[in-house]
Symmetry: C2
Subunit: 154 residues, 2 copies
DNA sequence: GTTGTTGCAAATTGTTTGCACTGGT
DNA sequence: ACCAGTGCAAACAATTTGCAACAAC
């Protein structure tokens, strides 16, 4: 079974095949730059900014194309983008079990995957109390991670 | 009793006096541009971007000075800044009862004050489970507000 | 009279867009 | 061959910075 994960590196070949099919189903195309970007996302675990993708592509892909590709992949639903408080938007392949919340350490800047249901109670309460439908995985929560907590003086 | 609130407009005179004292206690100065910015924040309820502050100042204050002033006021602890997923950082005077979480409607863009304890459970669990110390009021959560929920097709 | 602050202009960072051209299908 | 997608350059938005002049204390 194909595993697409932000944490474990996925098989780039599988991911490319899968996404190619999804693109074709929409009348869109799998191009060399797009393949290159997908391969980067599949190989690199974790959360990458557009600029980081540009930096690590083997064959050069233009900045603008990387942005447009990531956009297209988000529309397709195969990539998740996360706004981080300070700094650039981060992207990663969506986990097979769907998107999950994120937290950024304000000390080291690292982005962590958070437990999928961590905001369930808040989501329910917000909806019930003020009708706000929380989108738990669109922005990275801010905080200080375990490894920085000991060092942090703020 | 002085009331500094993001929702209710506060008495600009009171707020200026209070903040002047806080600045002096640190060897910093209350200048005309700073007073102007503080008065805007005190008069305008809600959440303003630096650009919006620039736009509404009676006597003109330079962009850069507005940014630096807001920064200084955040350092002082009298202003709270909120990163919003898409768009500029928002600022407001801190509530007397302290900072609170925020949510931005991805449909209309409006920023809402959320109940102060809405993320308490998540905060506790994150700390206990993975040692992540959540800063619940530093970023605006994303979602769809009640009034947009009926219209939203996404 | 110090020295913290300001205004200005210019640099930075992240991202988008118009357009002629190219490469998938 | 058609047209989605590319590269490029330029625009854009939000923010920061170096520096000389200025104004609080």
């Amino acid at each position: 079974m194909t595993r697409i994960s932000s944490v474990t590196a996925a098989d780039p070949g599988d991911v490319v095949a899968e996404i190619t099919a999804a693109l074709h189903a929409r009348g869109e195309r799998m191009t060399t730059p797009r393949r290159t970007v997908v391969e980067v996302l599949a190989r690199k675990p974790g959360h990458l900014t557009a600029e980081q993708v540009v930096a690590v592509t083997a064959s050069p892909v233009h900045r603008a194309s990387v942005y447009r590709t990531l956009d297209a992949l988000c529309d397709l639903g195969v990539v998740q983008h996360i706004h981080v408080g300070h700094g650039a938007t981060a992207y990663h392949l969506v986990d097979p079990s769907g998107p999950h919340p994120h937290g950024q350490c304000r000390h080291c800047g690292h982005i962590y995957d958070l437990p999928r249901r961590i905001l369930d109670a808040a989501t329910r309460r917000l909806h019930r109390d003020i009708g706000f439908r929380l989108d738990a995985h669109h922005v990275a929560l801010s905080g200080v991670c375990a490894s920085c907590a000991t060092t942090d003086i703020d």
